[in-house]
């Protein structure tokens, strides 16, 4: 059990770095946004992991229960998820516009066209 004590956080970092890698190394704008989503979800996992208490239960008050997991992290992440999809949609809308103006969503090609112009 001891060695699992920080396992969640390591997984969070691995996921975060995978997302980061996609964002900086992928040429395709949609894939970059998916990478950003992976990055974002890793942060959600970190917060929710921090809020968990051993032997705790969901923070809905009930008789005979004394130990609850942290409601505050749940609130923060719950709203962040919905805000996240709204901002991702905004990003996708910009990608759609880029496609219509440049005819491509590959970063290299967009830079090349910018240089030509």
């Amino acid at each position: 059990m001891e060695f699992l004590g920080l396992f969640n956080y390591w997984v969070v970092i691995v996921l975060m770095m995978i997302g980061f890698y996609i964002v900086i190394c992928s040429n395709n704008l949609i894939k970059k946004l998916i990478g950003l989503t992976i990055f974002q979800t890793s942060v959600f996992i970190m917060y929710i992991s921090m809020g968990k208490i051993d032997g705790g239960t969901a923070p809905i008050l009930a008789e005979g229960v004394t130990l609850y997991s942290n409601p505050l992290t749940h609130v923060l992440i719950l709203t962040a998820i919905v805000v996240g999809i709204a901002t991702t949609a905004l990003g996708l809308a910009i990608v759609v516009r880029i496609k219509e103006s440049y005819g491509t969503v590959e970063e290299d090609d967009i830079h090349a066209k910018d240089k030509q112009a």
Partner: protein, 332 residues
């Protein structure tokens, strides 16, 4: 045993993420991203975060997958091979940077309290106050709802405004003008009889479940954010199966846009009403004859405002994307 399951789910998440890096077919990447969302939702259930799991299941596995697929149908399915001559593609450099950052962060985790510790700073500050006093102050069982709508009402108001603004942003960027609207196109899944009939039965249930989640949010997992996304997904399902033209008859553009604003307005008005009654902005104690009643009323209306705005903005976003896709002339 429980910790064993969460280790497995986390490993599956990492595997899925690595697969996303590798795969070049963006359609497959989107499906993997959906799986990633569903896995993280299951993980949230294990972590006792049922409210969060609800939201992530509807958003991560449902809505985001749909939006990315709709975008893909406009931008093309395959990622271009990145190592063409003259490109800035430097995977080794990126990998080095990512590994270095990751190593530093892992070094940083040495100072973190171990997972599940009850004496971690995150558990000892503010939270005991919410858990111990909310029963007397607000008198609803779901502490997540009371923190969301009452204790941190300002915060949530800000977030609803962000969602509303993102909806407006999407409209401003890609709203199709009516004059360019195409003739009715067939729905992409119209020929699948089984899907159509099963979904037709499911849609009313999804709507009722959305309402249940909305109005039962004080007593069980749920609330405006979850209800909004669940409610909106029923409309997405309808639009996909019966076509945008049919869905447009159900959902009037102007009305949905007005509703999105109405939700924010409702939230803000509750705050202003508290001020008129002599309290601070969003201080629900001043809404009714006694504090607890005021809190109940405040939370009910605020959650309703959140639900209306979230559902309308999600519907606006989806319909705007789908209409744009039809306008671009590709029926499938």
């Amino acid at each position: 045993m429980e910790s064993f399951i969460h280790v497995i789910i986390l490993s599956m998440l990492v595997t899925t993420a690595i697969a996303i890096v590798k795969v070049k077919d963006l359609f497959a990447v989107t499906m993997l991203a959906g799986i990633y969302g569903l896995l993280s939702a299951s993980f949230f259930v294990l972590m006792d975060a049922h409210d969060v799991a609800f939201t992530e299941a509807a958003v991560g596995a449902g809505i985001s997958t749909l939006l990315i697929l709709t975008t893909l149908s406009m931008t093309g399915r395959f990622e271009k091979a990145a190592d063409t001559p003259g490109s800035n593609y430097k995977p080794a450099l990126a990998l080095a940077l990512v590994t270095l950052t990751g190593a530093l962060l892992i070094y940083g985790t040495q100072d973190m309290p171990v997972f599940g510790a009850a004496d971690a700073p995150v558990q000892t500050h503010v939270v005991p106050r919410y858990l111990n006093d909310s029963a007397a102050e607000i008198d609803i069982p779901n502490v997540v709802a009371s923190v969301l709508a009452s204790y941190r009402g300002y915060d949530t108001f800000g977030e609803v405004v962000v969602i509303f603004t993102a909806g407006i942003g999407v409209l401003a960027l890609i709203m199709s003008t009516a004059s360019k609207a195409p003739v009715a196109l067939r729905a992409s899944m119209e020929e699948h009889v089984v899907l159509r009939i099963v979904s037709k039965m499911l849609i009313p249930l999804i709507l009722i479940f959305g309402l249940y989640v909305q109005f039962h949010g004080e007593y069980g997992p749920g609330g405006g954010f979850q209800a909004g996304v669940i409610f909106a997904s029923a409309f997405f399902l309808y639009a996909m199966l019966f076509g945008l033209t049919a869905a447009r008859k159900v959902v009037n553009n102007t009305w949905v846009q007005a509703l999105a604003a109405l939700g924010v307005l409702l939230y803000g008005s509750v705050g202003l009403l508290a001020m008129i009654n002599g309290g601070n902005f969003l201080d629900y104690n001043f809404l009714a004859q006694d504090d607890v009643h005021g809190q109940h009323m405040g939370i009910l209306f605020v959650e309703l405002g959140v639900g209306i705005t979230v559902a309308s903005v999600m519907i606006i976003i989806f319909f705007t994307f789908s209409t744009r896709r039809q306008r671009d002339g590709d029926p499938d």
